[in-house]
């Protein structure tokens, strides 16, 4: 059947329910699309047999009237999630051949809800990157092209760039992502899809390969806000195996879709107006505020005075946590081992060969800022400034219900650009990192096109555990924007 891979998650769910097609048919259409999308390198591992097996089981459950919230819906899983018996590499050479004997909680929740796995999505190595150029499995290509330069290959953003590309190119109905400093929202913006990072603690981190534990959070990447609500509901929930998982009921997120924003107070953080930012980013932001005002919201300017320091805090805290988390890759328990004449040398050889350049850079920075004599000056100072940043947001919530901001300071850039200047690459996360440091829920919604014809996203940030208001406002923005532009490359028919 053709056209099945162009459906939204909600449309596919409803079509399965009314019997217009089966999950096996839906999955077959997607497997064809996955194959067609191979030139983009969005998947690092395809699992067609598993997909068809899961789809057949879904059809049985649908026939028996036992369909779950994601029943029969084929999705891609970022390769940061451990999936039982299926290669899980975090895009790193050091996890060569790693097939976990356990399933991450988030993917377990998805399978329990009936979802079907198409494969593992390519990503920046250990989720460190904003371009998807650092994967051991090669760069991922954005399905979008500049309108007057069809030759240049663009990045899909990162680190969840494979997930974003698969969803944008119609090679998955939806995908999981993870966001540490913007890794869901920035690629969503670059590829014209919706990406949501829920509140820290909403989705279990158990079984997600750890990068920076106080920041990492899983979330959905979809082609509509409603789809994000459906998928988040299936991913979220309390998990005693994650000590920072929050024991709170998961609301029916889809129920808020279509709600009004009349009277909602929307904050415009004035510090997000950056000197030298492209005028089209500012113009779209203003347009977003106008859309919400026209829908009945009240627009209020607010101040988040410590915003300018958020990136510097992030590039101390995240590498520090990464250097600890990545200590486990020692050539003993899993993955790559490069022999040496001593145990010490075996460790050093394995980690030298197994980690890419950006990962090494961050592990070294992290090791340095945690080392004796420097801990107070760097790490402790950063955690104090982080308190200040979180405090800025708390003050803002006295005045407003959500914040509206651009998702990224630019549209997708060319493969290979910004590679020789780490700080220029880090600046891609300037608008996403503050909410990550404060653990807040935030969503990117495709809102318009750049002068080059590339998608640009707007970001809605909310109070802790108030994903519902974020989704409600995002859905109004989505409706007003009416974003219906299509990428150059569409994999599915």
């Amino acid at each position: 059947m053709s056209g099945l891979s162009a459906l939204t998650l909600a449309e596919a769910r409803d079509g399965l329910k009314t019997g217009d097609f089966t999950s096996v048919e839906l999955t077959q259409a997607h497997l064809k699309a996955v194959e067609a999308a191979r030139p983009l390198n969005a998947y690092s591992c395809e699992t067609p047999e598993k997909a068809l097996e899961m789809a057949a089981e879904s059809d049985t459950r649908i026939a028996a009237g036992k369909a779950g919230a994601m029943e029969g819906l084929p999705v891609a899983i970022k390769d940061l999630f451990c999936t039982q018996g299926v290669l899980s590499t975090a895009g790193s050479h050091i996890l060569d051949g790693f097939r976990p004997h356990y399933e991450s909680t988030v993917t377990r929740n998805l399978w329990d809800a009936g979802a079907v796995m198409l494969g593992k999505a390519n990503m920046d190595e250990f989720a460190m990157g904003s371009s998807n150029m650092t994967s051991h499995y090669g760069a991922v290509e954005n399905p979008w092209k500049r309108k007057d330069d069809r030759k240049a290959k663009l990045v899909p953003g990162g680190s969840s760039g494979g997930s974003a590309t698969a969803v944008a190119a119609r090679a998955a109905l939806a995908a999981t992502g993870t966001d540490t400093g913007g890794s869901i929202r920035q690629p969503a913006s670059f590829t014209g899809i919706v990406g949501m990072k829920p509140t820290y603690g909403r989705c279990s981190r158990w079984g997600i390969i750890a990068f920076a534990s106080s920041l990492d959070q899983a979330g959905p990447m979809t082609r509509s806000v409603r789809d994000a609500a459906i998928m988040l509901g299936a991913m979220a929930g309390f998990d005693p195996r994650d000590s920072t998982s929050v024991d709170a009921p998961v609301p029916d997120y889809e129920a808020v879709i279509g709600g009004s924003v009349k009277g909602l107070k929307v904050g415009i953080p004035k510090e997000y107006r950056m000197e030298g930012a492209p005028p089209e980013i500012d113009a779209l932001w203003q347009q977003g505020a106008d859309w919400l005002r026209d829908a009945g919201a009240e627009i209020v300017e607010v101040s988040l005075p410590h915003t300018e320091h958020a990136l510097a805090v992030y590039y101390i805290v995240a590498p520090a946590e990464a250097s600890s988390n990545l200590a486990r890759y020692d050539g003993v328990r899993y993955g790559l081992r490069i022999p040496g004449s001593s145990l010490q040398e075996m460790y050093e050889n394995t980690r030298a060969a197994g980690f890419g350049q950006e990962v090494k850079r961050r592990v070294l920075i992290g090791t340095y800022v945690l080392s004796a004599g420097y801990y107070d000056a760097y790490y402790l100072k950063a955690q104090k400034v982080r308190s200040r940043i979180a405090g800025d947001f708390r003050d803002a919530w006295d005045k407003v219900d959500v914040l509206l901001a651009p998702t990224a300071p630019n549209a997708a850039f060319g493969q290979g650009e910004k590679m020789d200047d780490p700080i220029a690459m880090y600046l891609n996360d300037v608008f996403t990192v503050p909410a990550s440091l404060a653990g807040l829920p935030a969503i990117s919604v495709p809102a318009g096109l750049s002068a080059e014809g590339l998608p640009l996203g707007l970001q809605v940030i909310g109070r802790p555990f108030d994903e519902e208001t974020v989704l409600r406002a995002a859905h109004v923005l989505e409706g007003a924007a009416g974003f219906d532009a299509m990428p150059d490359f569409i994999a599915g028919g």
């Binding site: 000590s243 410590h306 320091h309 510097a312």
Partner: protein
């Protein structure tokens, strides 16, 4: 804060990453640039501010001090590059 070659070699050793001699100098430059950039935090007044230790305001959960998992050494060892007799194996550490 400028890092010299020797400091980079020391950090690399602490991080158990082999860095070839000729890479130390360029790496020192790259890392120094990042450290210079984060120096901006010294401009922020953090007098009396407690460092952030918990992202979401909630008390740590209690649980019973009981074994709730385990008993499958084969699964645990299944991904090891080398394992023997139910153990991970490593190069000899004692003569």
């Amino acid at each position: 804060m400028s890092l010299d070659k020797e400091t980079v070699a020391k950090i690399a050793h602490l991080a158990r990453i082999h860095v070839p001699q000729q890479d130390l100098e360029p790496l020192a430059g790259e890392l120094s640039k990042i450290l210079d950039w984060v120096e901006q935090l010294n401009r922020v007044d953090t007098e009396g501010v407690a460092p952030m230790t918990s992202v979401v305001a909630m008390p740590a959960r209690w649980r019973a001090d009981a074994v709730t998992d385990g008993g499958y050494p084969d699964d645990v060892l299944a991904n090891a590059p080398e394992a023997e007799h139910g153990f991970y194996t490593v190069p000899k550490v004692m003569e």
